[in-house]
Structure formats: structure tokens, C-alpha cells
Amino acid sequence: MNSTAEKKLDPDQINVILATDCGSTTTKAILIEKKNGEYRQTFRGEAPTTVEEPAADVTVGVVNAVTEVGELAGRKLIDENGEIIRPAQGDTGCDIYISTSSAGGGLQMMVAGVVREMSAASAKRAALGAGAIVMDTICSNDKRLPHEQIQRIRELRPDMILLAGGTDGGTQKHVVELAELIAPAKPQPRFGGTYKMPIIYAGNQEAKELVEEAFDEDVKLTTVANVRPVLEQENLAPARDAIHDLFLEHVMAHAPGYNKLISWADAPIMPTPGAVGNILQTIAERQGINALGVDIGGATTDVFSVFDGTFNRTVSANLGMSYSISNVCASATLPMILRWVHLEMDPRELQNRIKNKMIRPTTIPQTKEGLVFEQAVAREALRLAYIQHKEFATTLKGVQQQRTVGDTFSQNTSGQSIVDNMKLNLLVGSGGVLSHAPNMNQTAAMMVDAFEPEGMTVLAKDSIFMMPHLGVLAQVHSRAALQVFERDCLIYLGTCIAPRGFYRSGRTCFQYQISGNSLNETGEMVCGEMKLFPLGYDESATVIVEPRRGYDFGAGSGKRMEFEARGGTVGLILDARGRPLMVPADEQNHLAELTSWVEEMKLYPDTHLMAQR
């Protein structure tokens, strides 16, 4: 732990909180102030992250972002020496300063486990849970030859390696074999050549000494409890904590300017995804719901889910909107992106435009055409990241299941995805392209198109990309974090109601009846149709849906359902486009349908109208 972790702070004496998030592209700063006994987020600022030349010091970006906040707030936050003024006195300084960071590309790890689907999967979950990007997974059954595995370790230069394998008391041979494979590779760390590569051993505890024997003094070996002590159980917390500690001690300390940032912060700096995960878990727990969160950044897209109390997080490295935008296009392909574009665009120019964004990642769309295209890319980035998340968030593999006579015809096996769109209650979007979309309808549409929620799902967004800050604030001042979260962070967009079932051209999908204080509607939805009804922020409405056979709102095919829909800045969305969502193959029908969705959802109204909002 860094020294700042030991600071004792009296929560009652904290009136002004300054928080920053050093993202891969942008450093965001927010000011939280206690007003009339309540904590509220008051001002925000941002500046390019400065881990690169000529600054090569993350604190330069922090000072720039904080200076902007200070100018807007009329509060001097930076002193003549370029440091944050503490404690607050009158219109000067703040009481505490906290930060999260994913600058420097975040924490990059390799994991190794004996069997890909078991110990390696648990190790991967622990690493992702700690907010790491998992660069590669080495395991005994990954079909690579030992020398290829060794070469891979050498090439990747991870920040640290997590090694797992074997249940406690089980076989020792395989995990020691893996240790013997990693040791001679002599992995080189990414930052600087002076520190030793941290390796965390979280496997069979009885093999601990043999694993220690395999490594020499070239690495820093830390042993923690087994991530999979028995086959049916995971114990990820000790490995996760060790990753956080080593991240602070070793990795951040070697990135440009982090030592200074660590010395400034009044609480340990967390990796950004770790902080967002904390706050999403808190929401799901407090409201007793299944929640899904997404944070789409410049370099990565992080997806978080809590289903029936089980938390999962994936960091999709190289799926992002700036540094990785070209990779989104390479993975999704241009035609898949263009299926979300209702305007005429030249594919050659678009390809160049994507690359230009990749090499100059901090630019923003100035034209409507630019915005439409960027939001189309965002839909694909989100969709691909969600696919990865669903594949990862599964029940434990390799566990024998008790089956009853009733399960005879069930095809379910271990390793099923626990992410179920029909059970999803709340979908929260965060990250620049979602949080800063000029029109909230655009945010809602991007989320619906990418995640394809089923049944009834409430949509919300992180108002100004505040979740990381609040995640770390929750660690030092949970009351302030929750107050700000509830009042200033979450903006409810409304509710989406959509059935599961295939699109069948021209066929009626379902009938609806909506009754509320300001909204009373009945009608029929034809396949491929979308409808948006105004339903105010503090309003709700009862929605009765009667689907045709083949369409399911959660009660079964063709079964009637009744929902209590929550309003929001966007309203109530009825979506009869089918799940999985398909767009018509022929270009003319496709453009006609797409345009009808854009118009119905009022996605791109005239600029002057938006300015009046």
C-alpha cells in the first residue's frame, strides 16, 4: 500500500472534495461541495491526459483539469508551486483529493492457469475484477507449444502475472510446470528496467514452496490464497487485493508522474474500472436488482454486471472510441457499422476518418455527419464488448451439476452465461460517447441497439462520467459518494420494453396498452417498428403488452405481461425490432427502416432545437 492509504480523515470535517480520473485520453476533474448539509457535485473540468511527451507527467493534465474546475467554481485549487491546496479555507483549496487512473493504458496483466476453463478462468476473473486488461492467458491446454508460450510472455511485457492452478491439496505437478515455464522466460516489465516483475501465485497452497523454488530473485513473488480452493468455489478477493497493492507499489510508481500523483492523493489511487465496478455493485445491492453497466472509453470498453448478486467485469482491451477505434472497425467491419448510418457516406473517406481519429484521439465530431458515424461505431464497440462479457460471465466450468428428472430435456451444462437480458432491470451507460452525447435520446438509442434489452429495462446514464470518481470516494466517504450518486450522477433516461423473438416482416409483434397520469395510449406494434412515448422524469406508467406467438416478454411465448415503467429524460420506448436485433438486408428497406427509427426516436433534430433543450 502506498503511504496515503494510512491517512486518517474525519468525514465530518470534509466539505470540499476534489476528484480526478486520469483516463487514457482525457483527465476529468469534479468538485463536490457540502451545501446545506448535503454533498453535491458542483463543477467539472477536463484536459488531455499528459503521460506523453512533451509533458510526460500525469500531474500536468491533473493540474490543467483542476485549474479549469477552479476557474469555473471561482475557487483557487492550485498553488504557485502547481500543487493542490489543502485543506479548504474560504474560497481556496479542497479538503481531500482523490483519483482514479487508467492512463498509461491501465494495468496490463497475463494470467496463467492449469486448465483454461477452470483455474485459468478464475485467475482471469480475478485480474479483470481488479481492473486489469488481460493480455493473454497461458494454460497447459492452450494448444501452444511451450516455447511459443515462453516467447509470448517475453513479447507482451505485462505489468504483472497471476499464476493459478490446482485445488488445495490436489495435484501439484501441473502448476509447478507452469511456474517452470514462466521463470525462464524472464518477463520484462513495461515501465523501466529497474523493478522486478511482480508474480502473484494464487494456486494450490500445498505447491507453494515448489513454486517458490521455480522462481529466482529476478521476480517478486507474492503468494495469496487459492483463487479456486475447491472445484465448486472461487475465492477471488485475496488475489484481487494483491493485484491492487502491487499495481500501486510497482506499476503506477513507474509510469510518468504517478509517484507525484500518489503523493498528492488522500486515498489509494484505483484503476478506473475497479472504481466503476464498486459503485455499480453498490447500486445493485441497495436496490436489490440485476444491473448492467458499461463504460466506453478511448482505449477500452468495460462492461460490469450484477446478476442475482454475482458481479462480473470484463475489460475489452482495444475496443474503444479513440485509440482503439480502428480496431472496432477491423473487428466489426465497415458494413456492420454502416447499418447504423442513415446518411450517405463515402466508405473510402470513412476508413481514412477512422484512422485519423486513431492517430489524433482527442478530437470531437464537429458536424452532424461526423457525430452519426461516431455513434454508429460506438454501437458496434458496445455490442462486441457485450458479447465478450456474456461469454466470460458464466457459471463455474468443470463443476458437476445435480440434475433431476425435470432437467432431463434441458441442455444446460456448467459454464452457462449468467447474463440474461430478460432478467436485466437497469442498464447504465457511461463514458464519453454515451455521457456527452448532445441528445439523450442518442444515448438511449445506442444502448438499446447495442445491448438489445428484453422485457422491461430501465435505462440510465452517468450524467458527466462521474462513476469512477464516486467509486473511489465510496472507499473514503461513502455518505458523500451515495448522496452525489443519487442526486447528480445517475440520469434516468426512461424504460425500454421489447420482446424476445425473431423479426418477421409485416407481422404484428404485440399489442400494448399504456396508462399513466399524462400518458394513455393503446395500439399495435408491427415487426421492425419503434415507438417513443413521452414519460416525464418523475412519472411512471402501467404498460400491458400482449405478444403474438413467438414473442416473449418474460412470461413465455405469446403470454400477456404487465409492467410498471419508469419515466425519464427520453421517455418510454417500445421496440418491436426483434431479438436478436436484425436489420433488413436490402439497402433500400434498410435505409427506410433506419430512417424511421431515427425519426421516431428524434435522434438528430436540428441543432438549434437541441440548443434550446
Binding site: S24, P184, A185, N318, K355, I359, P365, Q366, K368
Partner: protein
């Protein structure tokens, strides 16, 4: 805010520049402080641990892993040649002995009694670091490398492909707006650093590779051409290890885009000079831009500085500083910063943003988000 921070590319006619040349692992430094180094001179070298080959001896001679150390005919640290008998089982009553021979040469690194594996490490792999920048050795970092310093003309590009290359600067295009096409390249350009104007076409790059040019530098390039040359779509801007037969650097961006006049003119001034270029690019933390380093010759060093001193603080946008617009609808246009209003303005896209006015070279004024300009630093 009257000023704002914005990173940019450096274009300098004459600057005291230093290059840090460091070995990836400790080794020997071959020069001393004060020595003059040429760009291709080896200044430090080391040997990387060789490749490792795990041999599962226990399986191969059918013994328990714990018996492997007793069956080994060599010890840790011994040198092994191909065909050497590595281990022999004790057999039954001295008969039916099984043995295994080494299929690769190397040194025995470890013998495991837990897994029965023997790790063989191959011959050390030499790693050499060249000076890259011709100049004076300013600092020696023991066992690691050197810092070389000299007065140079220094230019940064926006994206490169391939690593370090050396050669004489030669122009293929006579105008910054002229595309670099295949017919402009000929055999005399072998080993040279070729300067184009606007977009370098895919055919021109392929022709350059056939001729054997050291590097090609031009304003832009089409994504589709790059994809064909590389054989894959570049997902993230982390480059430098490509082996396409030459080094490519684009100075402005993708598409039909002319090289900035200042960059073109500066390179023109140095035509015929020996230069070192590096296409390595990392547009992520710890950013690396492709660069062109041209050491000044003695005559130039003696001459008074002609370049007007720029009153540009690194990374600070301010009225009057030269900028390049880096996003549509004005992508690639150059000008200088005019007014910088403090208030947020609504863009055509509907987003609210801090903007600035750019006075273009034509005299026209355009309003763009501050995020969409880049300083031309010099």
C-alpha cells in the same frame, strides 16, 4: 480560459537534440563521454538469454519425475550439443535402459524433480544499439547505454510503419501538394530517404520497396493502401516492428492531404543530408511519434540561426500560434489561432464545446472545437 493545453508535432529547423539509446537488458557500453559517434555506429551491446526448450525427460525415459535428477548425465550449467545423451534410466537389473538425446543445443538451466522437466537454454542472442543520431556522447549510463547530443533539424510525423532507417534525403515530389506516385521513383533512389508531397499511393510504396529505398515520407496515405501493404488492418497505432522492406512516415494524416508547407520547406533545405528516421509510433501513454533527425553539418553550425524564435510555450494554445486543424470539415488546413472565446458554443453536431477561431492561410476564419486543432511546434 484564455489559453489551453494542446499537444502538437515538433518541426524544428535547428535544435539541440538528444537521443537516449538504451539496451533492453544490462550489457556493455562501447563508447565514452566526449566521443563522436556516427549514426550507424554500435554504441552498446549485450546478449539476451537464449530461447528455452523444455524437455520432458521423465516422460521420455519413463521414470518418475523425482528420479530424473539421478538419471541426468549432465548438470545445471553444462553445455549440451545436438545428439548428446541427456539422461539415461537405470533400467531393470541394469538392462532395458532408456535414454533421451538432445534435439537442440544449449545450456541446462534447470532440472525439476517435481515435473521431470529439463529446461535447455539456447545460445545468447546478441542485441546491439546503434547511435542513431550522429553526435557527441554526452552521458554514459553504465551497463545500459548512452545519451547522444547534437544540433539537428528535427521533425515529427504523425504515424510511421517500420523501425529505424538511415539514408540521404532526396525529393521525389517538387511540390507539397503533389501526390507521390510510382513513376516518380527510380533505381537511383536505392538506400535514400524519399520525400513526397501529398498522399503516397500504394503503388509508390510497393515501387519503393522494390527499389530498396530506406524510407518514404509524405503528407498522407490511404487506409486501404496501408491495409494492402501490411496485409492486415492496423487496429491500434502502435507500430515500429513491421518488416515491409522500408520505413514509411506520414506527416499529416490519412487521405489526400498535402504535407505542411513548413515541413516540406524544411526538408527541402536539408536535401542531400544524411538523416536517421524512425517510424516507431505509439499513440498511447508514453507516446512515441515517428521522427526525422538530420544532424547539422559544420557549415550550418557555424552559421547564425535564421529561424525566427517562436514564442510558443510547449503545448499551450494561444492567440497567434500556428495550428493544424485535425478533424473534418476542415481537416488538414493550417492557420493561426485567432480569438479564443471562453463560453461554450453549440457545434453543428449539437455538442457543446469550447472553440477557437482559426485564421487560415487564405485569410478566411473558421470556428473549430479546441480539441480539433494541433499545435505546430517549432
Amino acid at each position: 480560459m484564455a489559453k489551453a493545453y494542446s499537444p502538437g508535432l515538433q518541426i524544428r529547423q535547428r535544435v539541440l537534440h538528444s537521443s537516449r539509446r538504451i539496451l533492453p537488458i544490462p550489457g556493455d557500453v562501447l563508447v565514452k563521454v566526449g566521443d563522436q559517434a556516427t549514426s550507424q555506429q554500435i554504441v552498446a551491446q549485450t546478449f539476451m538469454p537464449g530461447d528455452v526448450t523444455p524437455v520432458n525427460v521423465a516422460n521420455q525415459i519413463s521414470v518418475a519425475p523425482s528420479e530424473v535428477p539421478g538419471c541426468m548425465l549432465f548438470s545445471v550449467g553444462d553445455e549440451i550439443h545436438v545428439g548428446d545423451v541427456l539422461a539415461r534410466s537405470k533400467g531393470i537389473f541394469g538392462f532395458f535402459k532408456a535414454e533421451t538425446k538432445a534435439k537442440t543445443a544449449g545450456t541446462i538451466e534447470s532440472i525439476s524433480h517435481v515435473t521431470g522437466q529439463v529446461i535447455l537454454r539456447g545460445a545468447p542472442l546478441p542485441i546491439q544499439v546503434r547511435a542513431y543520431q550522429a553526435g557527441t556522447i554526452k552521458e554514459v549510463i553504465p551497463e545500459q547505454g548512452v545519451v547522444i547530443e547534437s544540433e539537428v533539424t528535427f521533425l515529427q510525423g504523425i504515424l510511421g510503419i517500420g523501425g529505424e532507417a538511415y539514408g540521404t534525403i532526396q525529393f521525389a515530389c517538387q511540390d507539397k501538394d503533389e501526390p507521390l506516385i510510382a513513376s516518380l521513383l527510380d533505381e537511383s533512389m536505392q538506400g535514400k530517404i524519399i520525400i513526397g508531397g501529398a498522399r503516397m499511393t500504394g503503388e509508390a510504396v510497393i515501387r519503393g520497396i522494390e527499389i530498396g529505398v530506406a524510407a518514404i515520407i509524405s503528407g498522407g496515405m490511404d487506409d486501404e493502401d496501408l491495409k494492402e501493404i501490411l496485409g492486415y488492418d492496423l487496429g491500434v497505432a502502435v507500430t515500429g516492428s513491421e518488416h515491409i522492406g522500408t520505413t514509411l512516415i506520414i506527416t499529416e494524416g490519412f487521405g489526400d492531404i498535402a504535407m505542411a508547407e513548413r515541413t516540406f520547406n524544411l526538408l527541402k533545405e536539408r536535401e542531400g543530408s544524411e538523416a536517421a528516421v524512425n517510424g516507431t509510433t505509439q499513440i498511447r501513454a508514453g507516446v512515441m511519434r515517428p521522427e526525422i533527425v538530420i544532424p547539422l553539418d559544420e557549415k550550418m553550425k557555424a552559421a547564425p540561426q535564421t529561424e525566427a524564435k517562436q514564442e510558443v510555450s510547449l503545448g499551450i494554445l494561444d492567440t497567434g500560434v500556428p495550428v493544424r486543424i485535425i478533424r473534418e470539415p476542415y481537416f488538414g488546413l493550417l492557420g493561426e489561432v485567432g480569438e479564443m472565446p471562453t463560453e461554450l458554443q453549440t457545434l453543428e453536431s449539437g455538442s457543446e464545446s469550447r472553440v477557437l477561431e482559426v485564421i487560415l492561410h487564405t485569410g478566411n476564419k473558421v470556428i473549430v472545437p479546441r480539441a480539433n486543432v494541433e499545435l505546430i511546434e517549432g
